[in-house]
């Protein structure tokens, strides 16, 4: 009766099932790469057909953006003009205002939470601050257009300043507040990662807490903080709804925050909502802008992640 013996060495489950499952899991992981390829290819193809109609030099260095289909003959160009410089300028202006608001607020909050606040205060304040990051951007856009912009206009009027109702300032400030928790929680993490021994050494030499923070901790955490600022900038550049609702569509080439400017994202939305003729330069230009946006944010993200990773290794 030797057949009835169980062969302990032979697995109960055939091995191919496991291989199949692992293979399936591997394919799922590969989908992430597929998405990236999909983004790049879809943007690239449409952009290439756009550059068949409009030269890449005109797009990247042109100073005029008026993509409307020609109605009058005396328009800048019969098929509109597609110079992206005013949009890049507007995007950078609003992002710069946002970062000017968010950087001091975010860093000061992070330092306070990491170094001064008691554990109880910290456990309350940190999640409350993070609500700011969880509020949908369409809500910020509505708030910026309905409340903040008129408020700034009125406040400016008191000082005799003429402020456009869709000023870069209003959109930038609201966007800055939205980004505060992004900077504060990332910076909070890097500040906490600075070894306690550095603080102790500084206190041992008689430094006060603020001196320790300014001269020891922040320099030590600087790469991580820089990484968090870059990520925040990339977020500001890619932000759409706030600028669509509060910054308007006037493609002015100006650095005056009191005037109206438009951004890459706002123009993409304007170009692709409403009636669109397919394959017109107007529609295709949105994809060229999308590719531009993708490249700018990708570069910022890669640098930021590289800095953060490198810094982490230093103290691990």
């Amino acid at each position: 009766m030797s057949n009835s013996k169980i062969n302990l060495l032979k697995p109960v489950r055939p091995e191919w099932i496991d291989r199949l499952i692992i293979g399936g899991l591997g394919i799922s992981a590969g989908i992430a790469i597929l998405i990236t390829i999909g983004i790049v290819l879809s943007l690239l193809f449409e952009t290439i057909s756009f550059f068949e109609k409009v030269s890449i030099i005109d797009f990247l260095f042109g100073l005029n953006w008026s993509p409307q289909t020609a109605i009058r003959s005396d328009q800048i160009a019969a098929e509109g003009s597609f110079g992206a410089i005013p949009l890049i300028n507007g995007t950078l202006l609003i992002s710069a205002i946002a970062m000017l608001v968010a950087t001091p607020l975010g860093l000061a909050s992070a330092v306070y939470l990491a170094e001064y606040a008691s554990k109880r205060v910290r456990n309350w304040i940190k999640p409350t601050l993070e609500i700011l990051a969880g509020i949908p951007t369409v809500v910020y856009g509505f708030f910026a257009a309905l409340t903040v912009a008129p408020f700034i206009r009125m406040a400016g009027g008191n000082f005799g300043l003429e402020i456009a109702s869709e000023s870069a300032l209003a959109a930038g400030i609201v966007m800055g507040i939205m980004i505060v928790p992004l900077i504060s929680s990332l910076s909070d993490d890097v500040i906490n990662a600075v070894p306690q021994s550095l603080r102790d050494a500084s206190f041992g030499l008689g430094a006060t807490k603020s001196e320790t923070i300014l001269r020891i901790i922040i320099p030590a955490a600087l790469p991580g903080i820089a990484g968090s600022l870059l990520l925040a900038t990339s977020r500001a550049i890619g932000e759409t709804m706030i600028v669509v609702m509060a910054a308007g569509l006037a493609a002015n080439l100006t650095v005056n925050p009191l005037e109206a400017v438009t951004t890459i994202t706002a123009q993409i939305v304007a170009l692709l909502t409403g009636d669109q003729e397919f394959d017109s330069a107007k529609t295709l230009s949105a994809f060229a802008l999308g590719l531009l946006l993708f490249i700018i944010t990708l570069i910022l993200n890669i640098i930021a992640q590289w800095i953060v990773r490198k810094y982490r290794e230093e103290y691990d």
Partner: protein, 419 residues
């Protein structure tokens, strides 16, 4: 000789001052951010709570058989019945322009309301009956005290004449305020007093369901592979960097991808929750993968090793033993990802979910809109009453987000206790 103690002492005073200053700077930064949050929430609440009230106006309508044929109700001219009812109430109104103003006290939806009322209860037919109608948005704003009568007449929505009519109706008890359940029962409308969020809400739920069904299994599978089975190779490094970068790609870029691939190449129905869900799932996938990996990583290796030692295959060890422990954490990540997808607007604008949708979508292939897009659309409408609706819809959206995040927090707490 320098008196060290003395100079240090002098200095110390200044240094302590700097210390206090520095600490208060941090506190002020937090206070500024939090007061902005409070400003936002209070503004939205104050503005939006008005939409919770629905103003109705009672008008006597002549439903005798010469106006409505009991055998053929549908053919009656409900609009003119309503108008003559209003004229009879205010007999001294003679000029055409004034009559028009008079008719505008009732919502343009009034004639449909009259028809529905009669179909619901045909016993009202045959005589003159008082029936409640939705008031127009201007009347509604006035009754709720949102119109300032001290403003010169030509600068406000209601003229003095209309104000006297309304006051008369009010003293006769012909105006009442009810909770506005219509806001949750109706789809979008050109008339703010009728517009509701049901269609948008259903659109959001459909899109999110598609998004969850696609992104959760895929995300968990990808995370499991990367965390448990992937050989340390260049390829898995590339995938890792790639996922981190995808998580930071602006959402509008995913919308462009959806427009050119799902709509342009695969020709899926425009404006449908199916495409919306697909686009949102691409966006959520990286978030879910990152959260699921963190959750899998936090499972003590001893659990897997114990299973392996007892003869389980690696796949069995992961699916039977690591998975149940990591699941709450993965679900938490998924809920957080879904919450973000619920609030995202830009990618949905790209794939045409900005249509004016009155009817509630019945399947994922029908044109639909989503809650944040509805907010965007209403925010763009010039009527003042729509600003109230926008805020009310924002309150609903925020409530959903709070609920989802609360669920995530509770799940995380439970999960932490078990380990």
């Amino acid at each position: 000789m320098i008196n060290l103690t003395k100079s240090a002492g002098l200095n110390l005073h200044k240094r302590n001052g700097a210390e206090i200053l520095f600490q208060s700077v941090g506190m002020i930064a937090i206070i500024i951010s939090l007061s902005f949050l409070a400003w936002l929430i209070i503004t939205i609440l104050m503005n939006g709570l008005g939409a919770a009230k629905h103003v109705e106006i009672k008008i006597p309508v002549d439903l005798s058989s010469q106006n409505v044929d009991p055998d053929n109700i549908n053919d009656a001219s409900f609009g003119s019945i309503l108008k003559s009812g209003l004229r009879k109430k205010f007999v001294d109104v003679k000029i055409r322009k004034d009559k028009k103003k008079l008719y505008n006290l009732v919502s343009p939806e009034g004639s449909f309301e009259l028809k529905r009322e009669i179909l619901k209860d045909p016993t009202v037919l045959g005589e003159t009956t008082d029936i409640w109608f939705s008031a127009s948005d201007d009347l509604s704003l006035f009754i709720r005290g949102r119109v300032d009568i001290n403003v010169p007449e030509d600068q406000r929505q209601l003229s003095d004449k209309e104000v006297t009519w309304i006051t008369q109706l009010k003293t006769e008890g012909r105006i009442r305020i009810k909770p506005n359940w219509n806001f949750f029962k109706n789809g979008d409308s050109r008339e703010p007093e009728i517009a509701g969020i049901l269609a948008a809400l259903v659109g959001s739920i459909l899109s999110l369901s598609v998004c969850f069904i696609l992104s959760f299994p895929l995300g968990v599978a990808a995370a499991t592979y990367l965390e448990q089975f992937a050989p340390k190779s260049r390829l898995s490094d590339v995938i890792e960097v790639n996922i981190n970068n995808l998580a930071a790609v602006p959402s509008i870029v995913f919308g462009l991808l959806g427009l050119s691939i799902f709509l342009g190449y695969f020709d899926l129905p425009r404006s449908s929750p199916l495409v919306g869900g697909l686009v949102l799932s691409l966006m959520t996938l990286p978030t879910i993968i990152i959260a699921s990996r963190a959750s899998l990583r936090s499972v003590p290796p001893s659990i897997k090793e114990a299973a392996l030692a007892l003869g389980a295959t690696p796949v069995q060890a992961v699916f039977h033993h690591v998975f149940p422990v990591a699941l709450p954490g993965m679900l938490t990540g998924a809920i957080v990802g879904m919450a973000r997808a619920l609030g995202d607007t830009a990618p949905l604008l790209m794939i045409g979910m900005v249509a004016f949708i009155v009817d509630v979508p019945k399947s994922i292939l029908e044109p639909a809109t989503a809650l944040p897009v509805q907010i965007f659309l209403w925010a763009d409408s010039p009527e003042r009453a729509f600003s109230e609706k926008t805020s009310a819809a924002i309150i609903v959206l925020l409530l959903f987000l709070i609920l989802m995040n609360l669920a995530a927090v509770i799940m995380r707490r439970k999960f932490e206790k078990r380990l």
